[in-house]
């Protein structure tokens, strides 16, 4: 049995030692001496969160299919172990081999949300790897970032040797082959970076210079190395069934946040909600075939022994074989002690019927995401859910026995008025009223309507990338206004309203649309103790605020500034499929309260058709 990186004394004095010992069922074991490339796949958050991430599992499986690569997992040590590792100078290790990550060839870090950025520096720091790409030596690992936040990699530019823009299944093997080739001929780190820069989808930040205007906006961003491309095009899997999926996911000993088999039914979304980054950057929508999913459902349940299976996608109701896959899962597995958990589906007769089969109606709740309180504002954000649909769905559900409804909203959306905000309370009230229309003897007790609002953050590659974000005070005033409105509702005792934290949202806004100057800010807050910012108990807003001053940066520049239509954005060098022209058109449609049809109704020329697949070619066989 392999020796662990941490001693028994340490493991017995920290919370959940099982986070650090590896050895789980389906963990890949390889002889480290007989592989050419050691790849550390890192999710910069705690084990239970990272192990729930589908993309990391897909890539772990994909890399390890190659005999010459050993892909291992790396997670952030929790704060208790972090302290011990610093005191005792224990280098950060990967779970599989328990070897220090500084010995690896690559560390791939997935960027799933902005507030994990300080944890990236923790990984490098504890890993005893220089924080700045420019300070790394020949023997240091190549640090590569990917995932949704890589669509604006600039705030992290200083810390990464390269970024992979797009879906991981496409050019990673080519990158690995170039690496081996370069190593074989004794090439340098820089030579490898140059080879990598020529691969589609790979962005090497040090090969670009950014010039600024006097007002702080970007004047130009130009390659300073002949191998670097002017535009980096995102990579995607054109035919989903051609891509390999996971066959034997690692089964954690401790309960991960996502403790179930997850079947990815499709990628991308046809809906075109104007606030949604995923809905834009993962275009075009591409489906897996029913047969492919059935095959993997069997394999995954057999190989993991999980007691639950779930579907993953941005909008499951749009999957053309939804009834087929849901009925298959219920018929095939329900009787075998496997729970079928359904993602949020559009509420209609079909979904209510299947939900009543797989859930205990008394305990479960229905979820709607109107996102905005009025039809006007829902038109602005292009959310095709109408009040009529919500009330009809709620009515059918109440008649079926449900009595709990959750409603999700956003505050601070562009063009928002007092009426739109009050609409959140009014819509919640209407849902409750629908319940009380049912004769008393047929009701199942009281109804509970829980409305939650998050604060809107404009994201790159969305029509709202030009939008002004609200300030913290504005956000809170909006939330108070909604709360007061709830107090005036007739059925207020059946209604509940929650809102998110505002401090964190402002920072998310800075990081989401940040430029290269933000690297210094991230480093400054990290050095002053910021870590696990996405965990409210660890988030230190004062450290961030002080760092803005120290670094001479103004958060308002990134959040509340009005951006002109011809401004050059830090992420403009990326071709994410959706063109800037399309986004501009959509931004203007939003202001004009004009609804845009979804991809199945009509092609609106977003630009993603250039990838030659998915919904764009659905009816053209």
């Amino acid at each position: 049995m392999k020796k662990l990186a941490l001693s028994d004394e340490i493991l017995l004095s920290i919370e959940k030692p099982a986070r650090y010992i590896g050895n789980e069922v389906n963990m890949v074991r390889k002889d480290t001496a007989s592989v050419d490339i050691r790849f550390g796949m890192c999710f910069p958050d705690v084990y239970e969160i990272g192990m729930s991430h589908l993309g990391m599992q897909i890539l772990y499986d994909m890399f390890n299919r190659r005999e010459d690569i050993y892909c291992e997992r790396i997670f952030s040590p929790w704060t208790d172990l972090d302290k011990i590792m610093r005191e005792k100078k224990i280098p950060l290790f990967a779970l599989e081999s328990q070897d220090p990550i500084k010995e690896f060839d690559f560390i791939g870090i997935t960027l799933q949300y902005e507030m994990c950025y300080t944890n990236i520096l923790q990984i490098l720091d504890l890993g005893q790897i220089p924080l700045h790409a420019s300070e790394r030596q020949e023997s240091d690992p190549i640090i590569i970032g990917g995932g949704p936040c890589a669509y604006n990699p600039e705030p992290l530019a200083e810390f990464f040797d390269m970024f992979y823009i797009g879906e991981g299944e496409t050019v990673y093997f080519e990158l690995m082959d170039r690496y081996k080739e370069n190593k074989k001929k004794g090439g340098s780190r820089r030579e490898f970076l140059e080879m990598a820069a020529e691969i589609e989808g790979i962005y090497v930040p040090s090969f670009y210079d950014v010039f600024y205007q006097e007002d702080g906006t970007i004047k130009s961003m130009t390659p300073n190395n002949p191998h670097a491309k002017t535009t980096v095009t995102k990579q995607l899997v054109v035919h989903m069934d051609d891509a390999t999926y996971i066959e034997k996911p690692v089964v954690p000993f401790i309960k991960a946040t996502q403790d179930r088999v997850v079947l990815e039914i499709q990628r991308g979304c046809i809906r075109g909600c104007r606030f949604c980054q995923a809905g834009n950057v993962y275009r075009p929508m591409r489906e897996h075939s029913l047969e492919y999913l059935k095959d993997y459902a069997y394999k995954l349940l057999k190989n993991t022994g999980h007691e639950e299976i779930s579907l993953s996608s941005l909008s499951s109701s749009d999957y053309s074989e939804l009834e087929g896959i849901v009925n298959f899962l219920i018929d095939e597995f329900k009787g075998k002690g496997v729970n079928v958990s359904l993602p949020s589906l559009r509420i209609d007769a079909f979904s209510l019927d299947v939900m009543s089969k797989v859930q205990d109606i008394r305990k479960s709740s229905l979820t709607f995401a109107p996102e905005a309180g009025s039809q006007r504002l829902r038109d602005v954000i292009n959310k095709g859910l109408t009040e009529e649909i919500i009330l009809k769905g709620a009515s059918e559900a109440f008649q079926g026995g449900w009595n709990r409804v959750k409603l999700y909203f956003m505050l601070g959306l562009p063009t928002e008025t007092v009426e739109d905000m009050e609409g959140i309370a009014e819509l919640s009230e209407k849902v409750a009223e629908v319940y009380y229309e049912i004769p008393k003897d047929q009701r199942n007790g009281k109804v509970q309507v829980i409305a939650s609002s998050s604060f809107f953050v404009p994201k790159p590659f969305t029509p709202f990338q030009w939008a002004r974000m609200s300030t913290k005070d504005e956000f809170l005033q909006k939330a108070y206004l909604v709360k007061d409105k709830f107090r005036t509702m007739l059925n207020q005792k059946s209604l509940k309203y929650n809102y998110h934290e505002a401090d964190l949202t402002v920072l998310e806004g800075v990081l989401a649309r940040g430029d290269r100057k933000i690297s210094a800010l991230i480093e400054e807050v990290y050095k002053n103790g910021a870590l696990y910012d996405s965990w409210s108990e660890h988030f230190k807003n004062d450290v961030w605020m002080k760092a803005f001053e120290t670094c001479g940066l103004d958060p308002d520049f990134y959040t509340i500034r009005e951006r002109s239509l011809d401004e050059i954005f830090p992420w403009d060098f990326i071709n994410a499929g959706v063109s800037k022209e399309f986004l501009k058109r959509e931004w203007q449609n939003a202001i004009g309260e004009k609804v845009t049809p979804n991809c199945r109704m009509q092609c609106i020329g977003c630009g993603a058709m250039s990838f030659k697949g998915g919904v764009c070619y659905e009816n053209q066989n």
Partner: protein, 236 residues
């Protein structure tokens, strides 16, 4: 059909807590295609119960669990099916078909064997003196320890719960009371010795391993301790 399974817990998996071991075996049953019985109700769960929870950090050669199955080929096949899907360090070593009216393992537990060794670098300087003292400690008429609980401090006599305490090859062996009535933790015996000799061992000095768990087939006055794997077995 009721089945009793004996398994080991060695190496890194000693850091997995009892609840997670239960979850682990529920998944293992499904991976191994064991035709296990599920309870009735809206969220059915496997009919499975464990004899005695093992503390985090302890290793074991003698863990027991009971399951009920609808069908199976034979005990050897079941053992192989399970061992094909185990994580390193967990190994099924015995499988017994029980009488239908057999009591479950948890209710049978009366005693357990443990061995205690020193973690590397944490041995006492005078190891011989340490062991000699331990034997003197054991031979007292009363083995008293002050137990701290929420209700305050109280003195307990461990004498009646320590059935055997011996030393060989620099290894301490103890057979002590276990189960729902009078559960004695091996750590407490070592703590009592530390209290008695007036000297504390360094933190994490002891490596404790459970070796076997027993039921009592005699009565309270004349106990007959038999390993759980040999109680209630059905003779085919």
């Amino acid at each position: 059909m009721k089945i009793r399974i004996k398994f080991t817990k060695q190496g890194p998996v000693k850091f997995i807590g009892h609840l997670d071991v239960m979850r682990y075996f529920q998944k293992a049953m499904r991976r191994a295609d064991v035709d296990i019985k599920y309870s009735e109700g809206f969220s059915p769960h496997q009919v499975m119960s464990f004899a005695a929870p093992l503390g985090v950090g302890l290793t074991s050669n003698g863990e027991y669990m009971d399951i009920e199955v609808h069908s199976m080929t034979d005990c050897d096949t079941l053992m192989k099916q399970l061992n094909d899907v185990m994580a390193e360090g967990i190994c099924v070593t015995e499988c017994h078909l029980l009488n239908d009216n057999a009591k479950n393992a948890m209710s049978l537990v009366a005693a357990a064997d443990y061995t205690v060794t020193f973690r590397e670098g944490k041995e006492p300087e005078d190891i011989k003196g340490f062991f000699e003292g331990l034997l003197k400690f054991k031979d007292q008429d009363h083995i008293l320890i002050v137990k701290k609980s929420k209700k305050g401090e109280r003195e307990v006599d461990l004498k009646n719960y320590i059935y055997q305490l011996s030393v060989s090859d620099n290894k301490i062996f103890m057979k002590i009371s276990a189960g729902s009535a009078d559960n004695l933790k091996p750590e407490l015996v070592m703590e009592a010795y530390d209290q008695w000799r007036g000297e504390a061992s360094p933190e994490f000095a002891y490596c404790i391993q459970r070796e076997e768990v027993y039921g009592n087939t005699g009565d309270e006055a004349n106990p007959v301790l038999v390993p759980l794997g040999l109680i209630g077995e059905s003779v085919e």
